[in-house]
């Protein structure tokens, strides 16, 4: 079972992102369970949503406390919420930012991490560019497809077109595809760097 936790703020589509991940996994014939952190959500308040993906029926109903991957939709949460709580060693981290992990003050934490599992994508800018709205959730799903290799980008695109229609769907697909390409390039760069060190 692969477990993803998504952190963001009310209004950024955190819950929608988890739901769409589950739809993408379903489209690949897998079992998936998405659920929110059950708060009384308010615009701007920290929000958490979860998604489990498995080849077997998912019976477990506890919150995801030891995720395999974490998606951070809002980097300002890094200093407010313990977003990395329980993350498995060498788990995947994807952050919506145009800064580096060092610039975000995370250098110490990730020093021994597998570098290709640490990615950033300027999802807010991509959303503004392609959709015209500051909603970073969908581009990050494109990035997630690249980083974790759990879902195909095609499935994410299919889930986007099931959720949205017309221009919004097209914009989100473009944003997710660009995010996917950015993360693939980042991972390759990280691997090259690691190989040089080795």
């Amino acid at each position: 079972m692969f477990q993803v936790r998504i952190h963001g703020r009310g209004g950024q589509g955190v819950v929608t992102a988890a739901e769409m991940l589950s739809v993408a996994a379903f489209d690949e014939g897998r079992h998936a369970q998405a659920f929110p952190s059950f708060g009384s959500e308010r615009m701007g308040a920290p929000v958490v949503a979860f998604c489990r993906i498995s080849d077997r029926e998912i019976r477990l109903r506890e919150p995801i406390m030891e995720p395999d991957a974490i998606i951070i939709q809002d980097p300002t949460l890094l200093h407010q919420v313990d977003v990395f709580a329980g993350l498995k060693q060498d788990g995947y981290i994807l952050i919506n930012t145009n800064k580096t992990f060092d610039q975000l003050g995370l250098g110490d934490m990730i020093r021994d991490w597998r570098q290709e599992r640490l990615c950033t994508v300027p999802a807010m800018e991509l959303a503004l560019k392609h959709v015209g709205r500051p909603v970073p959730n969908v581009p990050l799903l494109g990035g997630f497809a690249a980083i974790a290799g759990v879902l195909k980008i095609e499935s994410v695109i299919k889930a986007i077109s099931e959720r949205f229609s017309g221009k919004v769907a097209a914009g989100n697909i473009a944003a997710a595809s660009e995010a996917y390409a950015i993360v693939i390039a980042e991972m390759e760069a990280a691997r090259r760097k690691e190989n040089q060190h080795a």
């Binding site: 589950s22 059950f38 708060g39 506890e62």
Partner: protein, 417 residues
């Protein structure tokens, strides 16, 4: 057809397939998505003929359902928590009058302190109201139980409450197999009321009954609920024939053959418990689960049959009889009368407290060694409790409990993550 969807949406679609004629509702979390979805279907004409009535309160919601049902319409509503309490008087009336209303209760705690999260306090507060009560383990079962509920309600002329865990199920996206209209039509005949307000054949419904017949009316309500115990397995079997899967019934057992320890529970926590049971079985523990699908009428004989081979029974419930212990466990004890075994009550998950595999592992191991207290509060923070008790000892004006505890934990607003 298989689809990945939200629990609330799945239930709304299943209710729509049952062709309700009147839906009345007042929004309250975590039930709201269900009636919102049904409202949309009525508005866009995909659910027709059906009247969607916005009411001014839950009391009105149930009152409208009573009127609509008495006039011969298939009636549906949904609520939760304080909403259920607010309609309580009408809830009793619906069953006392024998009206086959189906209501979803998206289980949520009861205040004060106000809390929007899941436990079973709301539905269980109405356990003696005369409604049948079914508890769903998954979203698939939730939608299946709604289809069975209309059949059951109308056959017995009694109202049925379908309980599903608020947020944990209502807001979860998972895979469900949505039946076709033809399947539901084959299973659920057109509503033929046993009593109806018909101007062509006038009757009154709701007479005052004095001491001369009140007990008999009440006994008949009891006897009728007991009839459900016989009907439900047959309805579940028929459901299997048409829909091709097991859903509903009285209880479900899991790995109870040869089990020394059996865990009893209701609702979605059964899934987490089963995962723990599988892991403990691998280590050689003889442990199993008995899930209660039907809470009212309580399937005493079936529960006894399912538990009698065990050495110990642990009832894990998301409810509490303050001043006594458990509610579900008190009912289970009735079924175990005269049997010699250890019985433990575990109160867990109140107000949305997560019930984790880790905690269950510890709990079930302790139970296996008979080291549990007779009533245990899973993952209770004793420091927090003792601090408040000391405060109350030290100061007469010790302040409101909820606010004190929130201050102790250092949060300004409620959260569960």
């Amino acid at each position: 057809m298989l689809k990945q969807t939200e629990g609330s949406r799945a239930v709304a679609e299943a209710v729509a397939l049952c062709r309700p004629e009147v839906i009345c509702a007042y929004p309250i979390s975590p039930q709201t998505h269900i009636v919102e979805a049904l409202g949309e279907m009525v508005k866009d004409g995909s659910l027709a003929p059906c009247e969607f009535i916005n009411v001014e309160s839950e009391f009105a919601a149930m009152s409208v359902a009573i009127g609509a049902s008495a006039a011969g319409a298939r009636s549906y509503t949904a609520t939760a928590s304080q909403g259920l309490l607010y309609m309580a008087e009408a809830v009793y009336n619906a069953s006392g009058l024998g009206l086959p209303i189906v209501m979803t209760v998206a289980n949520r705690s009861i205040g004060a302190p106000i809390n929007i999260w899941n436990d079973h306090s709301d539905a269980l507060s109405q356990r003696d109201s005369g409604w049948l009560q079914l508890f769903a383990e998954t979203n698939q079962e939730a939608l299946d139980l709604h289809i069975q509920a209309f059949r059951l309600a109308e056959e017995l002329s009694l109202p049925v409450m379908v309980c599903m865990d608020g947020f944990i199920l209502t807001h979860a996206y998972e895979r469900v197999d949505m039946p076709t209209q033809a399947q539901v039509d084959a299973y659920l005949p057109t509503y033929e009321p046993r009593q109806v307000l018909d101007p062509a054949d006038p009757v009154s419904i709701g007479a005052m009954v004095g001491p001369e017949a009140f007990m008999e009316v009440r006994y008949l309500a009891h006897a009728k609920q007991l009839q459900a115990l016989e009907r439900i397995p047959a309805f579940a079997a028929e459901f299997r024939q048409i829909f091709g899967r097991d859903s509903g019934g009285l209880t479900h057992t899991y790995r109870t053959e040869d089990a020394e320890t059996i865990i009893v529970a209701m609702g979605s926590v059964l899934g987490t418990i089963k995962d723990v049971v599988d892991e403990m079985r691998e280590e050689g523990h003889r442990i199993g689960v008995l899930g209660i699908t039907l809470f009212r009428p309580f399937p005493i004989a079936r529960v006894r049959e399912g538990l009698q081979g065990a050495k110990r029974v642990v009832v894990l419930e998301k409810s509490m009889a303050i001043g006594l212990g458990g509610i579900l466990s008190t009912n289970v004890r009735m079924a175990l009368s005269g049997l010699h075994m250890h019985g433990y009550t575990v109160i867990a998950g109140l107000g949305g407290r997560a019930i984790t595999k880790k905690s269950l592992h510890g709990l079930f191991r302790e139970a296996g060694q008979d080291a549990l207290e007779s009533v245990t509060f899973l993952d209770l923070d004793w420091n927090m409790v003792n601090k408040q008790l000391e405060r109350e000892k030290a100061h007469r004006r010790s302040g409101p409990v909820a606010e004190n505890l929130l201050r102790d934990v250092g949060v300004v607003a409620a959260r569960n993550y």
